[in-house]
């Protein structure tokens, strides 16, 4: 038997999907903010905006030391 999804069901499914995506984004943003408040960032003058880092590098005539990390998992 083929299951046909009615328009109402489809709209509900989409709404549910969007809501869970938004919740996941909120959770990710929370993790990012927690990372930015961690002790690591208070120990040195880290710049988190790439354009700003490039501008500062240009002004100072010094290279950029870049550290790539993640906030979504430890």
């Amino acid at each position: 038997m083929r299951v046909k999804i009615g328009e109402g069901m489809l709209a509900a499914a989409i709404a549910l999907g969007l809501a869970s995506q938004a919740a996941a984004q909120d959770e990710m943003a929370e993790k990012r903010d927690k990372k930015l408040k961690s002790e690591f960032f208070s120990k040195a003058a880290w710049i988190t905006d790439f354009e700003k880092a490039r501008e500062e590098s240009r002004k100072a005539g010094k290279p950029i030391f870049a550290y790539f990390t993640r906030s979504y998992s430890p």
């Binding site: 290279p63 950029i64 030391f65 870049a66 550290y67 993640r70």
Partner: protein, 215 residues
């Protein structure tokens, strides 16, 4: 200048593609860049002040090499093209073109270029690999053909998928010999890692099955 890029998976955050654009594929990834964002050196040393200082010197050496090459020094031009290839500033094709006009390379330089070109080709092929088995087998077949043609195996991050995909392809085609060779190469590179022990146990069992089938 200290810059920190955080991969957050927050869709509205800036520069979420920067890690990949600058040649990174895992964490942490540490590099020196110039003000234009060009990678000057990748940190592969120990993660302490001395290690960072050594990588900083490599970045400085790259800038000096660039300046020397800018004055037309032929040896520096060759070294610069190799370094640019290594840092991902130029593609394999661009590197080949640049080097073609610079005369004969030394044996050591040629070996390095061959290795870099093969690694670049493996990286390109890995972009086509998905969860679909067919894509994995196709890449495994390509890597096996490269190996048979005498192309060097990648030494960097590409080594693991390179050998594993060759093993998958060999397993699919009941090729115990190729499977054993790839397993040996993987063991030589990652055999000391205790976390890899279950993987190696499973693959030894697969090898035995393949060898038994052959009998």
């Amino acid at each position: 200048m200290l810059y920190c890029n955080i991969t957050t998976h927050v869709s509205t955050d800036k520069d979420q593609e920067l890690l990949e654009q600058k040649g990174g594929d895992g964490f942490p990834y540490l590099i020196f860049m110039d003000a234009e964002g060009n990678v000057l050196a990748k940190h592969e040393d120990q993660r302490d002040a001395e290690g960072f200082a050594r990588t900083g010197k490599k970045a400085q050496a790259f800038l000096e090499l660039k300046a020397k090459a800018g004055k037309g020094d032929k040896a520096a031009l060759i070294d610069l093209a190799i370094a640019q290839l290594e840092l991902g500033h130029i593609t394999a094709e661009e590197g080949q073109k640049k080097l073609a006009g610079l005369g004969t390379l030394s044996k050591a330089q040629q070996a390095k270029v061959d290795g870099l070109l093969a690694a670049a080709e493996v990286r390109e092929a890995l972009k086509t690999v998905t969860r679909e088995k067919e894509t994995q087998l196709a890449a495994g077949q390509k890597f096996l053909e490269m190996k048979k043609a005498g192309r060097p195996a990648p030494e960097g991050d590409e080594a693991q998928p390179y050998w594993i995909l060759i093993m998958n392809y060999a397993e699919e085609h009941n090729d115990a010999g190729t499977f054993a060779d790839a397993l040996k190469a993987l063991r030589a590179k990652y055999g000391d890692n205790p976390q890899a022990a279950p993987f190696f146990r499973a693959k030894e069992a697969t090898l035995k099955e393949l060898q038994d089938k052959k009998k």
